[in-house]
């Protein structure tokens, strides 16, 4: 198949970006979107041009490092996928495809399609953990946890930290990302002791990083590669209000 790409090129975080057009021929529909970009880069190197910078690592949908805005939508027109799991068979022969970095107020473009998502780490540093030192853990079975609770916690914990939810949100809100961790740890007895402190610290960090507010459009859930539910956000709001009521702020 043949496609035309309009790719966002930006030299560094300070310079202004623009689109450049490239034509690719004889692509195999079984290749992933990123493999298609590999082919583009080989072509650019051959033509003495600078290849397009983009992030990826595991290429099996679990590390969260890749992520592009494809035709205006994070990771393309399929719901619940990462960019690496988007395959060319889902595009038509002759398509023109617009490729941009993940766009959000708290993400800076580093170069071309690479963005800085370190604000997400700083939210985690504020409270996305149980304060347990190595060596101080009791026997794992001394703390029974219901099968359903464990599965619910898993569903929240499955977040891959890719930033799709943030890039999807018209407010660039990090609510789904932040709430998934808060919910995971609020569901489990291990998280109980720091429950109030955690939610307040993480929500404050989220605000301090310049992420927008959640206005419940639920677009994040539609695109999340791990299908993290917006009920996590409801749980975060509940936990936050509960902490305030208990006077923990």
């Amino acid at each position: 198949m043949n496609v035309t790409l309009k790719v966002w090129r930006q030299k560094n975080s300070k310079s202004k970006g623009h689109f450049e057009t490239y034509k690719l021929n004889d692509l195999n529909p079984d290749m992933s979107f990123l493999e298609m970009l590999d082919v583009l880069n080989e072509q650019l190197i051959h033509e003495d041009k600078i290849p397009v910078e983009f992030d990826s690592d595991c290429r099996e949908g679990i590390c969260g490092q890749c992520g592009l805005t494809i035709n205006g939508r994070p990771n393309g027109h399929h719901h619940h996928t990462t960019t690496c799991q988007m395959h060319m068979r889902h595009f038509e022969d002759g398509d023109t495809i617009l490729v941009e970095p993940l766009r959000a107020s708290a993400f800076t473009v580093i170069k071309d399609l690479k963005v800085d998502r370190s604000a997400m780490d700083r939210i985690m540093q504020a409270g996305g953990f149980v304060s347990v030192h190595t060596g101080s853990a009791p026997d794992a079975n001394s703390l029974p946890i219901g099968k359903m609770d464990a599965e619910d916690a898993f569903d929240s914990a499955a977040c891959i930290g890719c930033g799709t939810c943030i890039a999807t949100c018209k407010n660039s809100s990090a609510a789904l990302f932040t709430s998934a961790k808060i919910t995971q740890l609020a569901t489990l007895p291990q998280g109980e002791i720091e429950r109030e402190k955690r939610v307040v610290a993480m929500v404050d960090a989220m605000d301090a990083e310049g992420f927008g507010s959640c206005t419940n459009t639920e677009a994040c859930e539609m695109e999340c590669p791990q299908e993290i539910s917006v009920t996590n956000i409801a749980r975060m709001n509940f936990e936050y209000n509960r902490a305030l009521l208990l006077g923990k702020k």
Binding site: S32, D121, A126, G135, A140, G161
Partner: protein
Amino acid sequence: MLNAKIPDGPLEKKWKNYQEHCKLVNPANKKKLDVIVIGTGLSGAPAAATLGELGYNVKVFFFQDTARRAHSVAAQGGINASKNYQNDGDNVFRHFYDTLKGGDFRSREANTYRLAEISANVIDQAVAQGVPFAREYGGVLANRSFGGVQVKRTFYAQGQTGQQMLLGAYSVLMRQIGLGHVKSYNRHEMLELVVIDGKARGIIARNLITGEIERHSAHAVILASGGYGKIYYLSTLAIGSNASAAWKAHRKGAFMAGVSWVQFHPTCLPQSGDYQSKLTLMSEALRNDGRIWVPKLKGDDRFPNDIPEEERDYYLERKYPAFGNLAPRDIASRSAKEQIDAGKGVGPNKNAVYLDFKDAIKEYGAEEIGDRYGNLFRMYEKITGMSPYKQPMMISPAAHFTMGGLWVDYELMTTIQGLYAVGEANFSDHGANRLGANSLLQASVDGYFIVPVTIGNYLSNEIRTGKIPTDTPEFDKAEEDAVERLKKFISIKGTKSAEYYHKQLGKIMFHHVGVSRNKKGIEEGIKLIRELREDFWTNLKVPGGIYEVNSELEKAGRVADFLELAELMAHDAYDRDESCGAHFREEYQTEDGEALRNDDEYMYVSAWEYTGYGKTPKLHKEELTFEVVKPSVRSYK
């Protein structure tokens, strides 16, 4: 002769003895000591966090954008621990024995025992962090069985155990970073190790955003940089996985051991075209319920569901009735390759075998099977467009895990003083073949529980050293070497990309130092590697410059190191005239095609010393003595 510094006493007392007698650093002195950690996988993140908790000043470096990306994240099936929660006769000794036997008696008894001994603590630690392992209805932890083992000792979180274990480690690391005990350097790559008076004293790193070259000093350096299976290009590893940190250490005097011992994972998606950048792994846990088969007839093109039972060869069940589809990985991979080579491969490229869930679905129902493997089935369907509920999966072996790596002693210290290697970066506990679900375990054990203890024994002698300055001739030289190399890559201005060379190297390695090897093939391989390396240094093309984001420059550095390591791997495979575990030399097999060990001549670990670019490496032997276990023929029949 290499000394592994194994503590005295009976096997079950060695680690206890060590801990009772090793030297300690008091809290006030820990503040004066700097430690560098390379990598944030399931060994690096725990090591950095635990050392931070203890009070050391820690700097952690990794090439990804955040610490949560390291490839431990992709481990699917589970993590072993001999908790005996299932009351099925498991214990530390059995776990130790299974691991030693799985490794075909080419690992160190004391290390392997310690791995099993500490395994229970890892599960406790992870659960305390909030890792949501699978549970029974009564609230206790669930277990499943895994290849090469007859008990259920594998803990799991759906098919995302590695992700959950890694995020647990990431969470404690984030906490230490937030507290200021650990400083994190994301998008940084180590270019050189700095050795001063025989001791590891720091690194030269490149900031992958600005391209700036940085000097960082420390009293000890821990390499948690993972394995080098990506040398085969097509592998289950992440695109960025590389051997560079380990190789740089090797060039500075750290020996590498068992380097040709590479595990090919039997259950990966087959290659579909030349453009392909990786082979996706499907967890081995699938072999609990899936049955592996090929058509009895060569070149049988019928749709798999149309092939009747009596015309299918369930070759693993036939050849290994005791373990069946759960035979260890090396055996399962080799058997698959045999079938494919014999013309019985299936799929459009005839490069796969079937993994069939038909009988399991009949027995347990589609819903139950979906509970067990739902995410894996979805992943398979996403990539291939076919549903494993409706037709068998197609799988084939792919390079996955490197048992070999930097040689370390019992304290996980390399042959360079103060340089440690943990997790997949070291050779150690897995011998010539790793059992499934022991990899997350080894990484965790090394990072959480071993190196934080053993490093104190070394650093106790460094409390009077003071801050290591970076304006010394050794740092000058290391930085010069690093910059010169970067300049060289750019100045070649040839015609072929680093990716091209990587793909070529992958093909050479797969054919000549792959699932099975022979003397003549390896000789040919060495010749091809040398030719390719020469071509690389004359015809490489790296666009762009040093002081900017430049992925091509990063790739060139990694491929250049792979091109050197490849020859060492070939040399290691050539030198070992026996078959053991994943090292299958075709000349050494039994009449029915099983690996034939040579305990009289090769009961040792080959540790190689770097002697110069393109020169023959020097062999050092670490004799393996088995005090408790008597090495037997590894049979899974």
